[in-house]
């Protein structure tokens, strides 16, 4: 699946750029018609994904390149998918051990291990791969589920959030 490129953002792995990216994402999701809660949730997922690149892929070195592409996915009658957004995050860090890509159990109370949970709770698709000497994280968020099956799946994964999130 590939959509229309809405925006490409290149930045360095300097944590002070995170709030700049959030500023971009807040407006972009607003423009695209996401609800206020969904705007916050998508912005948070992209923010946490970049935070992970800065901390884990680049081990807090602040001058490494990060690229974020945002594509618009159009409704697709064949797959029954609705309108959506695709986020492609690329870094040039070393290959990631997929076994390590895991948050902590949420019933333990300890610092850390939350970022991947936030990303998974927000996004409909989360995929990592190694490509062209870098890491590629692909996130997809549908604007409105086009089929009842999709809607059910989405609601299920958000079941424990309570009413304020939706």
């Amino acid at each position: 699946m590939s959509g229309e490129l809405l925006l490409k953002l290149e930045l360095r792995s300097d944590p002070s750029m995170l709030c700049v990216v959030r500023g971009t994402m807040e407006r972009l999701t607003e423009v695209l018609g996401f609800s206020a809660a969904e705007c916050r949730s998508v912005t948070r997922a992209v923010d946490e994904a970049i935070t992970n690149i800065m901390r884990h892929s680049y081990k807090n070195q602040p001058h490494k390149p990060i690229e974020l592409q945002v594509l618009r996915l159009r409704p697709d009658a064949r797959s029954g998918r609705g309108d959506g957004l695709e986020f492609l995050l690329c870094d040039r860090g070393p290959a990631v051990d997929p076994a390590k890509m895991q948050g902590r159990r949420l019933d333990e109370i300890k610092p850390g291990g939350l970022g991947l949970h936030f990303i998974r709770q927000s996004m409909d698709i989360v995929e990592f791969k190694r490509a062209r000497g870098g890491n590629l994280l692909r996130l997809v968020k549908y604007l409105q589920p086009a089929t009842p099956g999709e809607a059910g799946k989405r609601r299920e994964s958000l079941a424990d959030l309570g009413p304020t999130n939706r």
Partner: protein, 109 residues
Amino acid sequence: MQISARRIDKITIFDVIGDIDLANSPEVRKALLKELKEARVPRVVMNMSKVRYIDSSGVASLVEGLKASRDVGSRFILFGLSPSAREVLQLSRLLKIFEVYDDEAQALA
């Protein structure tokens, strides 16, 4: 982000302005641990009403504050959570673990 401390009787109130994220969560952590572990203040209160956004590293700093407060037998309190901050704690299943109030009066009561 700016963090500043007020002292009222034996309570320290941290007023935080701006987003808490990877760029400044270590600063928040340090401020909390100093007050709880070193100064052993019996009640530390975070005024979150000007915090629009808090990321997972910010939540981690708050969890460290909570742990430190339990270690020394102090209270660690949050008030004035924005929708975003509330969601993040809910997503982390921490909203009921922290002592959370709506406003400063309740937090100081």
